[in-house]
Amino acid sequence: MKAEYINPFYKATIDVFRIMLNLDVQRGQLRVVEELGPVSEANVVIGVTGDLRGSLLYSFPKSMALEMVTIMAGMPMTKLDAFVCSALGEVANIISGNAMTHLSGTDLACQISPPQVFVGTEGTLSMATEQAIVVPLITNIGTLELSVSLTSANGR
């Protein structure tokens, strides 16, 4: 897992949060974890295949998740229902897709799987066998913790 894989995700989040939510994003202190697991209540998992393989986990605090969808819909959201969860999945999907485009600029061609959303802070994701880097993405409505666990398909 190389730290250089993180930058495309940071760039993509800045771009997508500015367009969709009119929010600025600051990057917090990176940390390495041994297992990929949820940090907050609202979680989106996206698989990556191609030149890089692994998983991405977007973990949003409940209050942040509700506020994000409130901003987008222009009406108050009060629970993590199918509408809110699907919207979060789409935002994570758009960020990941844009990050893949940035990565392709470094000659890495990757595809992403459709987003899987789950609510709760229990457990770890069994598919992760590698270490993950967790990037706190700080906004004034809360901090999204993005865990990135990617390895090069040809062992580099």
Binding site: V16, I19, M20, M72, A82, F83, S86, A87
Partner: protein
């Protein structure tokens, strides 16, 4: 949902975008309402029906504008439109076949909302930039 900074500088397209944002907002209100699903279903069905047709008209008009001004990324933009039109068509067929399940409609409404914000907020803004570079089109 509509924001003034979404304007691209074409009166027709800007008013169609406002209409689309307005319709998506009413779709979300109907989908997320407090009344029983049966009570909201009429509004959900008619908004979906309207959007299915309106998206076709709007995409056609927007693509005609791009052609008229010689927009260089016309083909890529049309491909994005086609993919989204296909998604709406597939969803409409699916609910016709399987019925209007509340959760499935909620998920679809969220997809339409995020797509519209990202598309008008990013892809369509490039048309606006191009119009401004050309010295204003309309």
């Amino acid at each position: 949902m509509w924001k003034e900074h979404y304007r691209i500088g074409s009166e027709l397209i800007d008013s169609q975008h406002q209409e689309l944002f307005g319709r998506v907002a009413s779709f979300i209100r109907a989908v997320q309402g407090e009344e029983s699903w049966e009570e909201r279903l009429d509004e959900v069905q008619s908004t979906l029906e309207f959007m299915k047709d309106y998206v076709v008209i709007h995409f056609r008009d927007e693509e005609a504008l791009q052609k008229e001004i010689g927009y260089p990324w016309l083909e890529k933009h049309a491909a994005i439109h086609n993919a989204f039109r296909e998604e709406i068509r597939e969803f409409a067929q699916r609910v016709e076949r399987e019925g209007f399940d509340e959760e499935k409609v909620q998920e679809f409404a969220a997809k339409v909302m995020t797509w519209l914000i990202m598309h008008v907020g990013k892809e369509d803004q490039r048309i606006g930039e191009y119009i401004r570079e050309q010295g204003g089109q309309q």
